[in-house]
């Protein structure tokens, strides 16, 4: 558009830019600075420069290493459940049946409801003595269900299930958008050639949906690596540290244990981790699309 006003667009985005620098840019630089210090808010000691010591300490911190591995476990379980279920729901909602529009509209509920509140509702539903889940499982013959939130071996899958309840519908909605954009010709050709439902899914739907699934996977990976809300309210990272994610340990280390510098180092590692995983997924997506 008008050349003589070249400064104008800059001026229009200036307020937003200033805000972004103030609440995001500067804090991130400050975070890097803090990560090189021993820093405490409560004590009287001034922050002390320690170089990369905080980062070196991470490797020896069993709790951090465990949380890191656990976070990958959360992410893997989350992807393994969200993507197939989401695609399945999308394929289902793509079929014609009475009330389909209402079903599609209701799908948005779990992902917009306040996670902290819904996490607590799930705590009540999963209650080992009075919970509805125990009752329903009893109805299908499972009378000794595991202690969902207090068995160290079960707690991570339980939390992944609650997370999946919230976010699989989002994957489904993304897949529905992807499905509606697929070309129809290959499917018609396959029908003419007598391809079975499974063949059409395996050789047409799945490969054609790969780019869409990659987008969904990318979004889910970003959020699963940062999982904290429902863990905080449902288990607090327990029993012991059995469900402690990296983000939760990060919060506790920095703001509960007052190890600001060490927490900053964890935050930087977490940020780098999310970035690395996202970039890998973006790379993977490129040849497919």
């Amino acid at each position: 558009m008008a050349k003589r006003r070249d400064w104008a667009p800059e001026l229009l985005s200036l307020p937003a830019l200033v805000a972004i620098l103030a609440v995001m840019g500067f804090p991130l630089l400050y975070l890097c600075w803090m990560s090189l210090h021993r820093w405490s808010m409560i004590g009287f000691d001034a922050p002390r420069f320690v170089g990369l010591q905080n980062f070196l300490q991470l490797v020896q911190d069993d709790r951090f290493v465990d949380a890191l591995g656990r976070t990958f476990w959360f992410t893997a379980l989350g992807l393994a459940s969200n993507l197939p279920l989401g695609l399945g729901i999308a394929l289902l909602m793509n079929e014609r049946f009475p009330g389909r529009a209402i079903c599609r509209a209701l799908l948005i509920l779990p992902m917009v409801a306040t996670p902290a509140a819904m996490g607590l509702v799930w705590v009540i539903m999963l209650d080992p003595t009075l919970g509805i889940v125990r009752y329903l499982l009893g109805g299908i013959g499972i009378h000794q269900p595991p202690l969902w939130l207090s068995d160290p071996d079960i707690v991570v899958p339980t939390l992944v299930a609650v997370d999946a309840w919230m976010w699989t519908p989002m994957v489904a909605l993304i897949c529905m958008a992807g499905l509606s954009a697929l070309p129809t010709e290959p499917f018609e050709a396959a029908l003419v050639d007598g391809a079975s439902v499974l063949q059409r899914f395996r050789f047409l739907t799945l490969p054609l949906m790969m780019p869409t699934l990659m987008v969904a996977a990318m979004l889910r990976v970003m959020d699963l690596l940062k999982l904290i809300d429902i863990v905080y309210v449902m288990t607090g990272g327990g029993p012991g540290h059995a469900s402690e994610t990296m983000n939760l340990y990060n919060y506790l280390a920095a703001l509960s244990y007052d190890k600001i510098g060490y927490g900053s180092a964890i935050a930087l590692v977490l940020f780098a981790l999310v970035m690395a995983c996202t970039l890998v997924l973006i790379r993977l997506r490129r040849p497919a699309s």
Partner: protein, 271 residues
Amino acid sequence: MSPQRRRRLFFAIAGWGVTFVLVSPFLWMVMGSFKTTVDFLAYPPVFAFVPTLANYRQVLADNSFLHYTLNSTIVAAGSTGLGLLLGIPAAYALARYRRTGIGVVLLLARMAPGIAFLIPLFVMFLQLHLVGSFVSLIASHLIFTLPLTVWMMVGFIEAVPVEIEKAALIDGCSLVGVLLRIVVPLTVQGIAATGILAFIASWNNFLFALVLANESTKTLPVAVLGYIGYNSIQWGTLMAAATFITLPVLVLAFCVQRYIVRGLVAGAVTG
């Protein structure tokens, strides 16, 4: 029954079944909010009971709960309003003049864990004596409302035909005039949808309030934790409080269901 009809029946049952499973926690929550403590402690759980309003009465009689509701509203409205005010002009510049840098910033903001901003912001606000103030909460919520606004509004503004703006510019209208008199009126619906999504994101945010709020500025997601004590869970009141918190969000979300996914792509800072 023809195969065609049998097929439809099958998909209807499956589709409604899946939807029911996904919605059932909400049904159980609302149901529980009307139960007396006795009904709540019954096993097997009761599905038919005499509803009581006692839980809601208890939640609403609790002055601090209404206070937290007001806090949530102030923070969500403030960060949404500020997000729109700063974000719309930026989105306009981005949509019409192709400034690429912001796109990278948005992606970075989407990837960054909230804690990476929270730790330095906490220290900074502490030094400024602003921890526990609405200023700190609203400013920190900008971290997700602003990128969300820019991301959503770029799409809406790109859909406005550029010819009208060109004509107005030729007629001597200033760029700000074009923005206020043409772009904003033509994208009112988009602005409303964006505002609602930003409001929901802020309303639902837990971690930022957990760190930056104090007793008098606490927002609802943090306040609801108070109903789970160490030795006693007030089940009915918790369910009523959870219903009270999520209901506005669910209603708002229905108004903007077409845009939900686009909003979540940009701005779900979960931690």
